[in-house]
Symmetry: C2
Subunit: 461 residues, 2 copies
């Protein structure tokens, strides 16, 4: 590990953060804010990284990578420093890191925020020209936006999760024929119960996106061994024509540096971290974001959702506790809270689906309500909001799903607070919720779903 | 009390609910849902009551009372019955109520939801033609909409609370010159700290509404003793010309029936109720909504905000517990959660202001953040959201205020959940919040305000 380029500069910092995505940036900003006077250095490969959640929108709404850049201003305003470089090796005993350009950084605290790489499964034909995955770096996205996508007439998106669905809709907006291929019986089933998936499929189809569900991909076909992709072959024998194929079936954690440090990896995946995001071997080394292990807030099992918002929360925890366990604040566990939008149909989820809870062996009740999102419904801009809350038989809130308009994601964040605070159907049915004709439903869907669930629990319990 | 019109009909019901506003309707719907098979009768003066929060919008956005009616369908779908009538007297021993049209109703449970009447203070000139308050009944509103307002050139709104502000903006939209007069130094000071009030004043003024603050009204002037109003005289000597004057300075609880029943009144105002909305004298008689006493969720003192949403929550509590304390669910206390909108500027509050908390003797820290409500900010429709969370020195969340766009009210509902669940700055800074480019800020204002407050507590604590 010492056969690298010669050291041309040495730097002393209090904290070194490796990786500038939502986890690393959040750790950096929080550390700079909570521990003023400490020298915080962030090393990442790019000066202006992209906003990860915004990537699908580069290809439609935003029309270009330059409109999806993360601002460095908040971190720099707090005195933080950014070095555009990449860390090649770390010496845990010496508390140093060496970069590709020959900088030796002496650190007191180290935060690994090395993220993920997209996963390309070993499907026959996956290396054909025209087959691609989404990486979160500027040059790759610029290439997709400027060169690859403009040359595609028919795009197949393999994987009907959130990224696949958003990408399909955005690229389709630009005039490309798009087909989504999903192995499970419906899109988005990892996050939603079937009724919501069906609504999203309907909305996508209404916009002209083609959808094939219930059959996996067996090969990406084209001429010869290495000719450009021409079609996607499904397990049921069907063939989907495509001169471009996006593989959006997930990511692999980037833990190269952590493995070189001999840090313990969690059995469920990722760098093992405690509730303060500290690694097992060294309380001076933290890991946050996609590269770190996540434990489900309710089940204590490994959580497999890798969300920017979760990474940001982990970054806050690490940043706050970097130089001592300030305010005893720890990560109580991971919860997936997600929302998206197709046209003007927003949909989102928090916590567990009813199907997932049942698969865990939990007995659940689902409280449901459909209400207008303004009131009276004659108010301009009113649309219906369909809500479901999932409770255990003992009344604990496990999850929620909403289909509605502009307020959908914030109602889900309210549900997320309620899950993380371990509130019950009894709490939620009695809580007060503000209401206003131009801004909300006449009565709040959280209270009404709780009431519906309580009624079911009372009568069938 | 027995010298009324003769009884022409007798009816036996399990529960009689008197009053069909948000409290009574919510109690009725909840009772019908949670206690199927029980006969629930709602008596109110009108077949199609107005949606109270929608009243200001009748005069601008909705253009008519008929567009602001509350639907009876949900209650009727659950088997509930509505009688358009008014209750003249109640016999507690006999468990009966007599109506104006001669119906004698035998009840097992009684819910008083008799609401408020607007308060007209004894200002000289308050009885002049052209001076009015807002009552929540159809005919009165129809008269205002069809006759009074169309004849007004210059409207003065006395009282710069929510009703005054909303009414001013809506009437002004219709081409009427409007001046708001408020005794306190700024509008909305009962709900907001000054910085938010100033933003709202700026927005109202930009739309052409005139505002006079810091001086109360001493007289409503006109020709002679009883001539139509021509101007509003302020304590500082100023005169505001007006041929119409809306007095919007608050309401008085309507407790006539409760007083006739000799029910205990709370010292803080309203019918005394326990945590299940039961009256002191009789566990078979409940009171909900504006007519019932409210206790602040944090202070245990009387709460003076009379909101439809609070009434609805009380109605749920009463409805659930009407025939036995089902699920032991009680009203833990009242919290004011409110939002409104002037043009496309939404603003709202939950819980205590910093000023109110300090006036109580609490030492507070205010965490603040300003973030775009979409991300990256280049996403279409992005606008800034200014947020403040108020915490006690021990870290308990006391209140929040948001100025932003379409999601403002639901972010406040999330803050409301957090206050009612008694969450702390330590909880909120570590909680996860979902994020999506088209729907939310890049990092959630609740987490960021908590982080800012925590930093202040750490450094100055």
């Amino acid at each position: 590990m010492n056969t690298q380029s010669p050291i041309i500069e040495e730097r002393m910092v209090d904290a070194l953060i490796i990786g500038g995505g939502p986890g690393g940036m959040s750790a950096a900003i929080t550390a700079a804010q909570v521990w003023p006077g400490r020298k915080i250095l962030l090393i990442r490969r790019e000066d202006e990284p992209v906003v990860p959640c915004g990537i699908p929108y580069i290809f439609g709404t935003l029309k270009g990578v330059d409109h999806d850049l993360l601002s460095n201003a908040p971190f720099r305003a707090l005195g933080g420093e950014i070095l555009v470089d990449s860390v090649l090796s770390i010496d845990r005993e010496a508390r140093t890191a060496r970069t590709a350009s020959g900088v030796l950084v002496h650190w007191q605290r180290l935060v690994l925020a090395t993220g993920t790489e997209p996963y390309l499964p070993p499907i026959p034909g996956v290396t054909r020209p025209g087959v691609f995955a989404i990486r979160k770096d500027y040059e790759h996205l610029e290439y997709l936006f400027e060169e690859l996508i403009p040359g595609v007439q028919r795009l197949a998106v393999v994987g009907g999760g959130f990224i696949g669905v958003e990408f399909a809709d955005e690229v389709h907006k630009g005039g490309v024929a798009v087909t989504v291929v999903e192995q499970l019986p419906h899109l988005l089933l990892r996050n939603f119960d079937q009724e919501v998936s069906v609504l999203v499929e309907k909305a996508l189809r209404a916009r002209g996106v083609d959808i094939h569900t219930g059959s996996g991909v067996t090969a990406l076909e084209g001429e010869g061994e290495n000719g450009p992709v021409q079609s996607v072959r499904l397990a049921n024998g069907e063939q989907v024509e495509a001169d471009g194929v996006l593989v959006a079936i997930g990511d692999r954690r980037n833990v190269v540096l952590a493995e070189a440090l001999d840090l313990t990896m969690a059995r469920g995946g990722g760098i093992w971290v405690d509730a303060f995001q500290r690694t097992r071997e060294d309380p001076a080394i933290f890991a946050v974001g996609d590269c770190a292990f996540k434990q489900d807030v309710l089940l204590r099992r490994s959580a497999h959702s890798l969300l920017a918002s979760t990474a940001a929360a982990e970054g806050r925890t690490a940043g706050m506790n970097l130089f001592g366990l300030r305010n005893e604040r720890y990560n109580a566990g991971t919860i997936a809270i997600y929302a998206s939008m197709i046209g003007d149909l927003a949909f989102g989820c928090a916590g567990m689906t009813a199907a997932a809870a049942r698969a865990e062996g939990l007995s659940v009740v689902v409280g449901r309500i459909e209400v207008p999102d303004h009131h009276p419904p004659s108010m301009p801009g009113t649309r219906m909001m369909t809500s479901a809350l999932i409770f255990s038989r003992s009344g604990l809130l496990l999850g929620g799903q909403i289909v509605g308009g502009a307020t959908t994601a914030e109602v889900l964040n309210a549900i997320g607070i309620a899950i993380q605070a371990r509130l019950s159907v009894h709490d939620l049915v009695s809580f007060q919720f503000g209401s206003h004709p131009r801004l909300t439903a006449p009565a709040h869907p959280i209270a009404l779903c709780a009431l519906d669930a309580l009624h079911q629990l009372s009568t069938h319990g």
